[in-house]
């Protein structure tokens, strides 16, 4: 027999003024199973809580109902009090007769009637509550950081400095990301490599960071605190343990004309290469697509077509037979920092719904380049050693036209968002250009100049006022080669006149998009992403670096277009969140999770399809002899967040959400019967 104690709170005058608390306590006291029913001025006060503890001890209560304010206010308080008296905390519930009753009604009789109803509903629920144990999950205090750009580097360093072990996975041969390609950075014009390379080295040398370059995340299992990650180590064809990065192999390589990815195809590299001299780790990779040895192999040649690098390597580090290897790492948290790539300008688009700007001549007119290519042209480590020379004939361009919002903010092209960084880097480009070509003319076509940020607007003003960039508000309709010049046809919407410019070079500030393949990674991690592929944060304002999957965090431009300061701030925030998680030995979770009755489950897996968290797993049911009887659903309590969508979807009600079971709700509805 249930022994329920009911405690009706006056909340000073807050409830008592409108609700006759004594009558509530009296009426509820008549209910079967209620052995104790009292009212008191302030239930949340110490004496109030003492009343509860005393009653539990003296009357042997099996459930407690506190009829007071909203459970959002004090459920924790009263559950703790009940727990303190030896009652399972989840046998204590609240009836909300303040926010939902006394504060919103004036008629004392009606309000009191309603308060009685509300209390009775919860009494009937509590009669069917069962003791629940808080779920405790051990935490693996290692973190996985995916992506070795500036966001990933920052997150890894903050985590490692905070005492956590870190596995940093980068799919390129070197960490550094796009930031390592930049010449100088806004709004201070400090050299990108100068501020980045020390951090890259720090990552390499940090005792708590395991750097895994040229690797990719292949599979992720598990849940917060307990992820098991399978990482693919792509074959470098170079033994990392033997190589000392002397570079002799690259000098010996016979293939020297591979377009360099790092130089955005404006420069060349060898088939065995490190992406750039400051690469970390400084260990080369053989590009098997271009390597003469592997091409010979692919053609079926018996003799080795080449082996110059192997001959040149004094340490015998070249290993043509190397294959992809798989490594498993156990981690407690994951930071996704896969960054961005530039929108494709031409006809070939990576995703349905995106359209290019064929009319801008990118890819057909050599002197039409994108922003990252301009960075390489302006970079001291770039293909022109920092001299600004145009790709077609190597002449110094005297007139450059910059086009902003190529792709961005253009729903007709499939991208309606603002890429955020282009206004700033275009202003930077005009300045870099003028600093290198003093008589150069820079013209910028823009829609708006969005320079919100510390020192940002001042920076764009400087481009105009000190470095003489001409800003034309309007769009460009066509860019084509006309003899020696690149013709730009546009429209000045402030003057209302067409503009025609004979430029030497055109730079397109193309939109930022998430990295190719991010959808697959997001699915692997079961985090959600928007229609562009950007990872969704758990809450746009209050939980900006968490995802909807507990234990998976996000930093940098894979969440939305971000500049360097934003990415770094996000990375540090994500690291702080992970360190906060790691500060617990065990994770405590509310036990309001779903449980499957394997005997009743028919295995239709509608629950799996509706679960927002991927918490539903498949479980085999076997008889004593080990014969497979059926495969049923099983909820992983570490992953389940307790929404209960599975239960409402389950046709046979074979899954129950603890704390909100069908019996409890049935009893609540029943208690409202006339």
């Amino acid at each position: 027999m249930a022994r329920i104690g009911v405690f009706v709170c006056h909340c000073g005058e807050n409830i008592g003024r409108t609700v006759d608390c004594a009558r509530v306590a009296g009426e509820i006291g008549k209910l079967p199973g209620v052995v104790h029913s009292v009212d008191y001025k302030y239930m949340c006060s110490d004496p109030g809580q003492a009343l509860i503890k005393q009653a539990i001890a003296e009357k042997g209560l099996t459930g407690v109902v506190v009829s007071a304010c909203s459970p959002h206010m004090h459920e924790r308080t009263f559950r703790r009090a009940a727990g303190g008296a030896g009652l399972n905390p989840f046998l204590c519930e609240m009836a909300n007769i303040r926010e939902h009753c006394s504060w919103i009604h004036e008629d004392r009789e009606a309000a009191t009637d309603k308060a009685i109803d509300l209390a009775r509903v919860i009494v009937e629920k509590v009669k069917r509550n069962v003791p629940l144990e808080t779920i405790r999950i051990p935490v693996e205090k290692r973190a996985l950081v995916i992506g070795g750009g500036i966001a990933g580097i920052q997150a890894a360093l903050d985590l490692a400095d905070g005492g956590a072990e870190v596995v940093l996975v980068e799919k390129e041969p070197s960490i550094g990301g796009h930031m390592s390609q930049l010449s100088e950075t806004f709004p201070t014009l400090d050299c990108s490599q100068c501020i980045l390379t020390p951090r890259m080295v720090e990552v390499y040398q940090h005792p708590r960071i395991r750097l895994m370059a040229y690797c990719e995340v292949d599979a992720v299992e598990g849940y917060i605190g307990n992820f098991k990650v399978t990482i693919r180590q792509k074959a470098r064809s170079v033994d990392e343990t033997k190589c000392n990065g002397c570079g002799a192999c690259q000098k010996a390589c016979v293939v020297k004309n591979v377009p360099s990815e790092f130089d955005e195809r404006l420069g060349k590299r060898t088939a065995i290469y490190v992406p750039f001299p400051q690469a970390v780790p400084n260990i080369p990779v053989i590009d098997r697509e271009h390597c003469a040895y592997f091409k010979g192999r692919a053609r079926g040649m018996k003799k080795d077509a080449c082996g110059k690098c192997k001959e040149a390597c004094a340490r015998g580090a070249i290993d043509f037979a190397q294959e992809d290897r798989f490594v498993t790492e156990k981690v407690g948290a994951i930071v996704v920092a896969t960054g961005y790539e530039l929108y494709s300008i031409g006809k070939d688009q990576p995703a349905a719904g995106l359209k290019g700007y064929g009319e801008y001549g990118y890819g057909t007119v050599p002197d039409v380049i994108d922003g990252l290519q301009f960075e390489r042209l302006a970079s001291a480590s770039g293909p022109t050693a920092g001299k600004l020379l145009r790709p077609s004939d190597g002449k110094v361009p005297k007139k450059i036209v910059f086009l902003q919002c190529v792709g961005s903010r253009d729903p007709a092209k499939g991208i309606d968002y603002c890429s955020k960084v282009c206004c700033m880097y275009v202003a930077k480009h005009t300045m870099l250009y003028r600093h290198k070509v003093h008589d150069g003319e820079a013209t910028v076509f823009y829609m708006d100049v969005r320079a919100a940020g510390k020192g940002y607007d001042e920076f764009t003003r400087r481009a105009v006022e000190e470095d003489g960039a001409v800003y034309v508000r309007g769009r460009v309709s066509r860019v084509y080669r006309d003899g020696d010049v690149v013709k730009v046809l546009g429209f000045d919407t402030l003057n209302g006149t067409p503009v025609e410019i004979d430029a030497d070079m055109v730079v397109l500030a193309t939109a930022m998009r998430p990295r190719k393949g991010i959808e697959k990674l997001a699915q692997t991690l079961s985090v959600s992403y928007d229609r562009h592929g950007f990872i969704n944060e758990a809450h746009p304002k209050l939980r900006p670096v968490e995802t909807n999957t507990a234990g998976v965090f996000v930093a940098g431009a894979c969440q939305a277009p971000r500049d360097i300061p934003d990415s770094v701030a996000m990375a540090s925030a994500a690291a702080a969140k992970v360190l906060g998680l790691f500060s617990n030995e065990m994770l405590e979770r509310e036990p309001t999770v779903a449980r499957v009755d394997a005997a009743l489950c028919a295995g239709c897996f509608h629950c799996e399809r509706v679960c927002p968290y991927g918490a539903v797993e498949h479980k085999e049911v076997r008889d004593r002899k080990g014969n497979l009887l059926k495969v049923v659903a099983d909820v992983n309590p570490g992953v389940c967040q307790g929404c209960g969508t599975c239960q409402a979807t389950c046709p046979s009600k074979s899954v129950e959400l603890m704390g909100f079971t069908d019996e409890q709700i049935y009893a609540e509805v029943n208690a409202l019967a006339l």
Partner: protein, 318 residues
């Protein structure tokens, strides 16, 4: 394939060669053109300048007729007609109140199920047949494909190709064996209906187009609009400067017809102001292409062999 055919006023007047050439190329391309009974003017350039309702109601009427006569698509070879039909359909689709008004005005239901198609779109959809039956590929002929302003814009109405960088005409020209040239003014305005009212503007605009096509090395300009054709062909005497050679301006269907082995007369090539004879002779001189094999159209080789006679192909086609 059976397609509703809406010639519009031009194709019965100044653009007869477009009508003739289109009717000639239709059978070999597997098209059955069924002229919509009782069609009326689409309103063209004048209606939308005077009454929005009229500019929607006139095309809507023709679409409704096509619907009643069992068509699901309606070919309007004139770019202006196509644009009006498509615009009207779009306007009605976006505005429920207007849709009701239009049904009142028409006195008949307008379910708007008929899709307007333009010349380029229809030809592009038959590329496989064209390649197969192009017995006289126009190898070596350099063609500037001129879209004008009405064919691909506005993009939400004419969604069949990229509004700023279309490729469909080039695809058709490539299928005829000719080579499309890269040039810039393929989407510029020729001056359109201001031909008479502001001839000076038209001359300036059309001359720029002509100059650009010529400097790109084109032997001919391909068009898909009677208005463009009129400005570039009929006015060309006024456009060219002393000593400059004239540039033949052909309807896309005429080029397709030549490639299919049809003769010049059938295609209406004699109706042009700029002489097309040299161009035609060049085309006829080209060797029968690899596609000239015994196929479903036995008259084709005969046409290629005896180009001067009124070819069986032409007769059969009309």
């Amino acid at each position: 394939m059976r397609v509703g055919y809406y010639p519009g006023c031009s194709l019965h007047g100044t653009a007869r060669e477009l009508d003739e050439s289109l009717r000639a190329v239709a059978p070999p391309l597997g098209l059955e053109l069924v002229e919509v009974n009782d069609w009326s003017c689409c309103g063209a350039t004048s209606a939308h300048a005077t009454s929005h309702l009229l500019s929607v109601a006139l095309p809507a009427r023709n679409l409704a007729l096509a619907e009643e006569q069992g068509h699901d698509q309606l070919l309007a070879p004139c770019a202006a007609c196509y644009n009006r039909l498509a615009s009207a359909r779009h306007a009605v689709a976006c505005d429920a109140a207007l849709a009701e008004t239009i049904e009142d005005v028409l006195g008949r239901p307008f379910p708007s199920t008929v899709a307007p198609r333009n010349l380029v779109e229809v030809l592009r959809a038959r590329l496989d047949l064209l390649r197969e039956r192009a017995v006289r590929p126009l190898t070596g002929l350099k063609v500037a494909c001129y879209y004008g302003c009405l064919l691909v814009r506005p993009s939400e109405v004419c969604s069949f190709d990229d509004p700023e960088d279309p490729v469909s005409m080039e695809e058709v020209v490539t299928a005829t064996g000719a080579t499309p040239v890269a040039w810039r003014r393929r989407l510029d305005c020729c001056g359109g209906a201001f031909s008479v009212a502001r001839t000076g503007s038209v001359v300036r605009l059309s001359r720029a187009i002509l100059d650009d096509a010529r400097s790109a090395g084109a032997d001919a300009i391909a068009v898909a609009c009677p208005m463009c054709h009129s400005n570039l062909d009929f006015r060309q005497k006024a456009l060219v400067r002393r000593g400059e050679a004239e540039l033949p301006v052909l309807y896309l269907s005429e080029l397709v017809g030549l490639a299919l082995g049809l003769d010049a007369e059938t295609l209406g090539l004699g109706r042009h102001f700029v002489d097309t004879k040299a161009l035609v002779e060049r085309a006829l001189a080209s060797k029968p292409g690899p596609a000239a094999k015994p196929g479903p159209r036995p008259s084709a080789p005969a046409a290629a062999a005896k180009p001067a006679s009124p070819a069986a192909a032409g007769t059969e086609a009309v």
